[in-house]
Symmetry: C2
Subunit: 554 residues, 2 copies
């Protein structure tokens, strides 16, 4: 069996040059000439290092980046919203202009396909441009004005005006599985910058070259718009200093909020550091998700094969390394399900191993597969745990795996409730419809929950949905969970452990609200008010005046 | 010196009867006939117990209340929004109908004046009716619909619809200092019920009789509207079982969020219990606040006496036991400030001792006063720490105190940065305008910050404000922080330690959002959608359809 992966054709020696040092407010960090802590980026398909030495940021670099961000935060407050919008647009243009250089680096560093990387790049620049639009439009601040009533008895009513205000500098942790969309200039960075919060990125060690290219584009955009360069810094973080740099940034007094996408353990550790500060700050951590799928009888009756195909593709897309990969499948134990499972197993058995993002991700997957396989009552139905490890050489890859168990076993075994990050699903067979409903009640908090149903399944679908509404951020009917639209109505979030802040979304315009809090101005002279709250409403944004939405002056 | 307090005239034996047992889903808890854990309510002006024995809820009571709330949560989901609105309106009517019985109990149990209690009662019923209106109007769910694009390339865009959905049963901790507005049926209870979350109240031991009267009114309202009685339970909590009951409710799997108003230590303890659950739940804790006031030169030049009068009244109103009591006053060291201080000191010296809410509050105040007074460089300027203790008898009371110190001392002494809950303010004298600005940067997170300034102070006022925007939830110009309007533009919240959730407000319509999270429905058949998201928009609420606000069908 061989790796059928497009990145094999990319020649690492042809990658465009990166400096290997952090970017602190637009300038390369000094970096010791012979850094004993240097680290390398590994290309998963070959397992070989890419020939560039990266230098992890020093604690002094981190401090300088955070201080510059604090200064920039205050200069940014005096700039027009249009400047922020122009900056976001320009950053998108600059990233687009990186063209195939960026695709080559990202593919080499992550093993993801060029098609996937191009789609992710387009999503990233779309998000930057969307937030530029959100900033221009201006209503996102949720402005509300309650006019004074000087003659009210017993006491006059004061003039009260409220809007969302940015928290201050934000630290963003690059995600291993989204080298573009949740890293140097992804959703967290874009939404924080849109809110008026400078960003310090702690780069992911799995794709430092990709990160540096994007970071340079963002810094150049800031310079071209004439913004304070402290608005954005990128810290290389890898090797022995990786954890230290992340912790230093989260602890830094100038940092006021944190965005994290990654593992459950990593998210909890970062959240704990944020909570244990003398002045605790919010940490928005998106962690693990099992994305359960419920297959109802009449859906399988008419759509068994198409559903199996959709699910196989959803399980193995990006080799299962999506936060919305479907990891649990609940179905009734009957012949329909048997046939469905045969089809799904065949599809997965015919999916060749694909690269995993990095050694750590593969090791975690193999450990989780071992845990799942060791549960009495769990049976391997397709694929082969550890098969990829047998490929030999340094290849970092894995094929898919499909397990089958009963609801009784699932109920008893917490090991089956946790995410297996990779191309893996566990099918839970339920003896009755009541067991299927119980399955929904047993799952951990998750980003998504999917229900495949036919018209005749409506009653059961409603029961399952009413439980999923308590457990997930997004409910999908007759579709797979992968594919997260960037739009107003999206919720990319969910109850613990999917995230630690279930009232938020990491995707869509509302993601900007994470980096803000409401501030009320009482009896404040117009000259001291933010422009969005001034009586004449110079930006003509929609505001709530005495409870009524209007774009008119107050 | 004597207590000049209206509650002295209330005769405890004339108080209307309360049962002294908890109300579990509308019914009195069984309660052992001879409860060795019974507790009493103390009347602060006399220090004597009120002649009713209260029985703390048992752990079985707490469990029954939480389970009933979980059941009610699901039945409530099938009721029209109008039923919730009618329930809130009816509860307000029932509380109004308690008339002077309620005022008598609340005054007897808290030592607050009848005028204050009547105002607080009116605020409470206003809040209930406001949330009834919010629920009827319906736009609070923030509905957003992005319509499908089946022909989009490379993949079709699905149908996506999002709204806020209630979290589930909410535990509310009664506050000592607001026996009505933040207790059995106060802001947290009203906003949670409005969101569709049943409420379990853990009563405050300082005013159990008041709490029981209000709780009975709420239960009666639920019965009259025909709602599941599990929607509301009230747990008496005092004596040795107080902490145990609170912890049991916060740990209960059926409880999905917690509202707390009280001390810093209490809030942190509750938040920790919520965070350490296997499924962590949000705890919204409003804790301590110093509410700093900045006096700028030109304000004192023209308004010294009126400002002194406003501040004296704000410091001593409700005997300083308001979360927005001004506890820190920053001013320049000059003759204007000297004159202002003389006037403020005289006013405070002429304010007689008034009752404190309870022994615990008084003891905490005396300990904090001892801490403040022991700081080298702090001078007592008016009042006398511990003066009230000298009143003799069992009276629970305190007079005001005013301290003076320098910015240098304030900078060095963390003991001065924390709240003194009671009629106490510390004046911090600053040698320069720069020191005044530094003072703003030194304060802890606070609910409010006030700036008194004249037209000529505009530059300095802007500098102070730009720092307060990072530190407080509400900025007040030329006014005192006490007096929190219930309106759209209000933010009653702020950075840690004022609250642990600075993105929220505890007052005003937005308070409802604390008890919800967004849920997205993808490709969901109309019949499975909540009514607010259905295509025909039967409730004609304002929704964001493809990003545009509209009341039209989608």
């Amino acid at each position: 069996m061989t790796l059928t992966h497009a990145t094999n054709s990319l020649q690492v020696e042809k990658l465009p040059l990166v400096s290997g040092v952090s970017l602190i407010e637009g300038k390369p960090a000094a970096g010791p000439s012979r850094d004993p802590m240097a680290f390398v980026s590994i290309s998963p398909p070959s397992g070989d290092p890419i020939g560039v030495e990266f230098h992890a940021a020093t604690l002094e670099d981190a401090d300088a980046a955070c201080r510059a961000a604090w200064r920039a935060f205050h200069t940014l407050a005096n700039r027009a919203a249009e400047d922020r919008a122009a900056f976001l647009d320009r950053a998108a243009t600059k990233i687009d202009a990186l063209g195939d250089d960026l695709v080559a680096w990202a593919c080499a560093e992550t093993g993801l396909t060029p098609a996937r990387i191009r789609a992710e790049r387009d999503r990233t620049t779309y998000t930057l441009r969307m937030f530029a639009q959100v900033v221009r439009e201006g209503a996102w601040v949720r402005a509300a004005i309650d006019l004074p009533e000087p003659n009210r008895k017993p006491t006059p009513r004061p003039d009260l005006r409220r809007m969302l205000r940015p928290l201050g500098p934000v630290a963003v942790f690059g995600a291993g599985n989204f080298p573009l969309a949740y890293s140097a200039a992804g959703g967290d960075t874009a939404s924080a910058l849109a809110a008026g919060c400078p960003v310090i990125v702690k780069g992911h060690p799995g794709h430092p070259g990709t990160g540096e290219l994007v970071a340079r584009a963002v810094c150049d955009a800031a310079a071209e718009i004439g913004l304070d360069p402290g608005i954005y810094s990128y810290l290389h973080a890898g090797g022995a200093r990786e954890m230290e740099i992340g912790a230093a940034v989260v602890r830094h007094p100038c940092v006021r909020a944190v965005g994290f996408t990654g593992s459950f353990e990593g998210g909890l550790a970062i959240a704990r550091i944020g909570a244990e500060r003398p002045d605790p700050i919010p940490v928005f951590a998106e962690m693990g998700s099992t994305n359960p799928v419920f297959l109802l009888r009449h859906a399988l009756q008419s759509q068994s094969d198409p559903i199996a195909e959709k699910l196989a593709s959803s399980i193995t897309g990006s080799n299962g390394q999506m936060c919305t990969c479907p990891g649990l499948i609940f179905a009734l134990r009957d012949e329909l399900t048997d046939a469905f499972l045969r089809r799904l197993a065949t599809l997965l058995d015919h999916t060749p191993p694909q690269p995993m993002l990095n050694r750590r991700t593969l090791d975690t997957l193999l450990r989780r597969l071992g845990e799942v396989a060791s549960v009495k009552g769990v049976e391997l139905r397709a694929g082969q745990a550890g098969r990829a490890a047998a490929l030999g050489g340094g290849t970092i890859a894995s094929g898919p795996a499909l397990y089958r168990t009963s609801l009784a076993t699932f109920r008893a075994e917490r090991r089956l409730h946790k995410e297996c990050f990779g191309p893996v699903a566990i099918v839970v067979l339920c003896d009755t419809e009541q067991e299927l409903v119980e399955g929904a009640a047993l799952i951990q908090g998750s980003l998504t929950g999917s229900i495949f149903s036919g018209a005749m399944d409506a009653t059961l679908a409603a029961r399952v949905q009413s439980i999923l509404e308590q457990r997930v951020g997004r409910i999908i009917h007759n579709g797979v969970p992968t594919g997260v639209e960037v739009c107003h109505a999206m919720t990319h979030g969910g109850p613990f452990p999917a995230t630690n802040q279930p009232h938020t979304t990491a995707v869509g315009p509302l993601a900007i609200e994470r980096w803000c809090r409401p501030v009320t101005y009482q009896n404040t002279p117009d000259q001291h008010l933010p422009v969005e709250l001034r009586s004449d409403n110079p930006r003509r944004i929609e505001r709530l005046v005495n409870g009524v939405p209007t774009r008119e002056p107050a």
